[in-house]
Point group: C2
Amino acid sequence: MNIVIIGGVAAGAKAAAKIKRLLPDANVAIYTDDTHVSYSSCGLPYYIEGNFTDYKSLLVRSVEEFNASGIEVYLETRVDKILVPQQQVLVCNKDEARLVKYDKLIIATGARPFIPNIKGVKDFSNIYTVRKIEDGINIREKMLKSKRAVIIGSGFIGLELLEAFVKNGLEVEVIERNERIMSSFDPDMSKLIQERLETIEPRSFNFHTNETVSEFIGTNGEVNFVKTASGKEFETDLVLLSSGIVPNSEIAADAGIEIGESGAIKANKLMQTSVPNIFACGDCCEEPHLISGHSVWVPLGSTANKEGRCAALNAAGVYTVFEGVLGSAVSRCLNTTMSMTGLTEIEAEKFGFTPVSAIVTKNDMVSYMPEAGSMTLKVIADKVTGLLLGGQAIGALGADKRINSLASALVGRLTVREFGKNDFTYSPPYSTTIDPLLDAMSILCSKIPRHC
Amino acid sequence: MNIVIIGGVAAGAKAAAKIKRLLPDANVAIYTDDTHVSYSSCGLPYYIEGNFTDYKSLLVRSVEEFNASGIEVYLETRVDKILVPQQQVLVCNKDEARLVKYDKLIIATGARPFIPNIKGVKDFSNIYTVRKIEDGINIREKMLKSKRAVIIGSGFIGLELLEAFVKNGLEVEVIERNERIMSSFDPDMSKLIQERLETIEPRSFNFHTNETVSEFIGTNGEVNFVKTASGKEFETDLVLLSSGIVPNSEIAADAGIEIGESGAIKANKLMQTSVPNIFACGDCCEEPHLISGHSVWVPLGSTANKEGRCAALNAAGVYTVFEGVLGSAVSRCLNTTMSMTGLTEIEAEKFGFTPVSAIVTKNDMVSYMPEAGSMTLKVIADKVTGLLLGGQAIGALGADKRINSLASALVGRLTVREFGKNDFTYSPPYSTTIDPLLDAMSILCSKIPRHC
């Protein structure tokens, strides 16, 4: 039995390890065009920031470990084509091309940074994206010699790199095409994130929203100036492109595998694609949303791991279902935790709910504790049924705790009123007497008809 | 309409404020034998430790604030008797006794420290309990002049004071009658708490389990030595008694109000006692356990607040139900968070479940993050139904987050398998890729029949 896995960062690495344990006699091989396998891409911002000095900390399993457990790993080896009728893949490295037979194929090709079409974007060596190990190493090396940086895009990755750059003493300009930063949050919460970050003093960064980059200008192969459509010009030593990612789904599309509306691969809850014996998992494929029921593309490391495991189990003949995602996510930028789960108010409306929401701002613990910090919670429910739909929390470190409590309630399909029964832990270093999440739910409850 | 409230720390203070808002024309009066009203008793250990210097930070609402909103507060005024047929209470202060008429009476008398019957326990001025504002002030004052302390009892309060004393440079001996510290946890978890605390270096404290105090020996009105039944003798500058609390339910019992098996007042979900027009709330009364359905006595500040609110609403004629508690609790001792919700394995057995459990020890965040710390999670389910029953988490700060995620699932009556769908936030400073709670649930799932 030949198991071929394309890609080996999170989903692919997990799938390989799992399937080899399930089918010890199978030939399991990972093909990846990357120079590394099985690493924490999510940890790159923290490596760049300098939380730890050896990038090898990011490696989960080494090639040697894979080999020792009987898994072949082919680095810098690209799979160029899937030949469906023949159950073969065409693999190429710099020396040779060959055809490899598969009984089960697992596509875990991940995603890649979106490169905006800006004049000069391909001409300079100090324009970076952050996705692979080399990216981290290169950015850190350059950052340590830099005084100024421009970050294009202000989503999770953009703001994580903002923290890294600011903590390393750089002056940073963040340029965002949208009218607000962190646009995966609802507008009211995005606004608060920006306001909160802008209270930091001294502050060595600026946000420029509603602003697009028109041109990179440089000398000797390096960008020195970033020009915007509105005529601003920022001097810089390096540029980070963080304006989103795109799924590596072309090879699947080329093989006739069904692709979702998002551009990522469509897989069912067994991680099977539309083509027999071909599975997909991780950042290259869509997943069902547990609240809306719709297929969504939420490429995250935690999901990739679960999907990799699920694909491996089903490829090995062990029936297993991956139910879907809530879209739970968290990120830290300087003094601010940004965390969310379920649907935003905007998404809820789009999916046909009648969202109603409540917002509270409170300390995450009793105010006399020196570590107490402010946070803002937004909770969202459906006015027709009273069902909880989602929430967002920003601010102090403890914000994330409330989002995970909410995630469990979303999985349990609780109504706001049912959630009100909740009994959270209380002690001054951990919470206020009545947890802020319960306060938010009380307000939300008053906006829901009594029969729900 | 005369509303009389006996006791004004948490439940009583909350009830008073709430009912005055609901019934602005009613006469609302709080009678308390305490010198203070409306304060955070839970914050006393952190005041003693020195997290803040002004004890007034512990006060939630001052007498003046109560008065300004039209609520009378009688400090150092004891209610000695409830005259049920006459709907009156007998109140006494040092100068006078008088009878006060009530239309609705709310008993919020709280609890008091249990004083073990040890030779000399009443003879010395440096033997303390921690419950009231003066206790905190007195202990802190004495602690700052002390080198050694003995703590008797190793529950939440004992260990919180251990932290306070150790952080202030004292050598501390903790004496525990049971075979293990923190016996509200399951034995395996208690053991881990002790082991974890004992890894601290340098360590200026010792635990002595299976040990009872036989005598206090002192001179000039101060204890100098604590003698144990096994013949040990500890020199000390102060003694803290923290061997539990007892409900102040005598006045209710005396009035013929039904008392529960725990010794606390029995109230229904509207916080009504067995006598019309008399409500009870807070640490003096029992509450239903959301998992077992049984009446339990879990005296905690968060519950007191909720019950005070519920009592006020029903006393004012607004039908409101307090559904009960999960027994969620958290405490910090030095480097260790100790947190729990739902039933322990021991309680689960007692209540007729067939508990099965899983334990995992993992970091609370990705190990390459400098703040990462180890934690141990125990999750418990019923083998017959697959329903989650409870959990305990000890270790790094992030332990508490997992317990609150579990609390939401308990409120939703989720099975282990349903919980497995959960989608928690992930980012290196907040979690491991697959949250430790999901790992624990995977193991637990393998112990539950497939049809559950």
